[in-house]
């Protein structure tokens, strides 16, 4: 089952990569006419300003590391396309979480994203009766649409950039999830996000409301017999830009507690360094609270994003 998801992830990534040269060729052929050198706009225009595409969220979308933002990921402008791939490692006291994925930003309007998450129970798997290094794998498919507001150019009003999105998550351990009391192994989240850049103050503030049934981001399934309904959860971020390359901030994300495992809210303190428009790294201290009865699940969040 996990292997199937992994194969799907790989094929999706490869297909995405294959599409790139094809699009580039299509671009060049439009250039081959006329004597007057008409300026041709490249499809992958890398035209946004540094850092304004955000980083890669653990779910694969463009945003903060943990919290959802209204940005369309990558550096494509409203005339271009941007593609970002990420690899994120979260090392907690009792568990590891890996996330690898891709986000494609289309014309700064639509973002399609995919992430494959692997939650490794490490030695804790033995104590939980699952076995050492027992893993939960989850696929997250996302789509986000920017509604109104422009992060960078709306500096003379308080209008934030806003977006709505949907995420489909599918977990590969339905039997185990049923045993711990989750109702479903897959689920759909809906969210609305607003992100404001106050450029003159080098400050970014973002908030989102997510309607979800996910237990621990879906790693422990969705809903329970006692709590099967959608709940609105809050996600907030504040970031301060010390330069166009370097941002430091904090994020907060509330989560439902459907399973009665005292699931807690998550937060992180992060530093993001944008080397250029093709590479950025994020380092954070992250605290996800209690996970599967294991308390104080805090640790390191390290992420690398590469893009065109």
């Amino acid at each position: 089952m996990a292997l199937m998801h992994f194969r799907r992830a790989i094929s999706f990534l490869l297909l995405s990569m294959l599409a790139l040269p094809a699009i580039a060729v299509a671009q060049e052929t439009t250039d081959a006419s006329g004597d007057e050198p008409e300026r041709v706009h490249p499809l992958f225009d890398a035209g946004k300003l540094l850092a304004t595409g955000g980083v890669s969220q653990v779910e694969g979308a463009g945003g903060g590391g943990l919290a959802t933002w209204a940005v369309i990921g990558g550096y494509g402008t409203n005339d271009g396309v941007g593609v970002t791939v990420h690899e994120t490692f979260i090392g907690l006291r009792s568990f590891d979480l890996n996330s690898a994925g891709i986000a494609v930003g289309l014309y700064d309007r639509v973002e399609l994203s995919y992430a494959h998450q692997t939650f490794d129970t490490l030695d804790t798997g033995v104590a939980l009766g699952l076995g050492r290094n027992f893993k939960f794998d989850e696929d997250v498919y996302g789509a986000k649409v920017r509604l109104f507001g422009q992060l960078v150019y709306d500096q003379s009003s308080w209008l934030p950039q806003t977006a709505v999105g949907v995420e489909y998550r599918s977990n590969d351990r339905p039997d185990i999830l049923k045993a711990v009391g989750a109702q479903d192994a897959n689920g759909v989240d809906f969210y609305a996000a607003a992100t404001k850049l106050v450029l003159a103050e080098s400050l970014l503030v973002s908030g989102a409301v997510r309607f979800t049934r996910a237990n621990q981001f879906g790693i422990l399934g969705f809903g329970s017999a006692a709590h099967s309904d959608y709940q609105p959860e809050f996600e907030g971020s504040v970031a301060y830009l010390f330069s166009k390359h370097f941002a430091v901030g904090a994020e907060y994300r509330t989560k439902p507690d459907n399973l009665g495992f005292s699931e807690q809210n998550a937060y992180d303190l992060f530093a993001a360094y944008f080397i250029n428009k093709h590479a950025s790294v994020t380092l954070a201290y992250v605290d996800l609270g209690t996970i599967a009865t294991r308390r104080d699940q805090n640790g390191v969040f390290a992420s690398l994003q590469l893009g065109i």
Binding site: H41, V152, A200, V238, L241, K244
Partner: protein, 144 residues
């Protein structure tokens, strides 16, 4: 469902620091912070020199009187930053009409401006003040 305040307090404190702990600059104009007449003259001139060497946008400056453009830009930046000037010229829409500029062209010029300010050692906290004033012009410049 939610953590008790005891647990959220450090997070809220961090948010509050980031929101309100940002130092406020002294009571000088942005024009002064950018180096006054010499500084703003150099910044606008170097920005245009950078743009003329920028493969992404240099073609958009064909048939343009560069010394005149530098002079007008100085006047405009001087006015916008609280300097002793009064820029009264045609609107940004008019001056960019027919150029078919893209958002990426606007941002390329922004990057050329940032490089010009970096060359003058203008601190980022001052740079963003100017960028914030110029940013809304994207609507008047692009696709006119």
């Amino acid at each position: 469902m939610y953590r008790p305040l005891r647990q959220t307090a450090p997070v809220l404190a961090t948010f509050a620091f980031l929101l309100f702990g940002v130092p406020v600059s002294a009571d000088t104009t942005l024009y002064d912070d950018l180096g006054g007449k010499d500084g703003v003259t150099a910044i606008t001139a170097v920005m245009i020199d950078n743009a003329l060497a920028d493969d992404r946008i240099k073609a958009t400056f064909d048939d343009i009187n560069i010394p005149r453009l530098k002079g007008l830009l100085y006047q405009q930046f001087c006015t916008l930053t609280g300097g002793p000037c009064q820029y009264k010229r045609r609107s940004m829409q008019e001056t960019h009409a027919g150029l078919n500029l893209h958002e990426s062209d606007f941002n390329a010029l922004v990057e050329d401006l940032e490089a010009a300010m970096d060359a003058r050692d203008i601190p980022w906290s001052t740079q963003v003040k100017l960028l914030a004033i110029l940013a809304p012009m994207e609507r008047d410049v692009v696709k006119q």
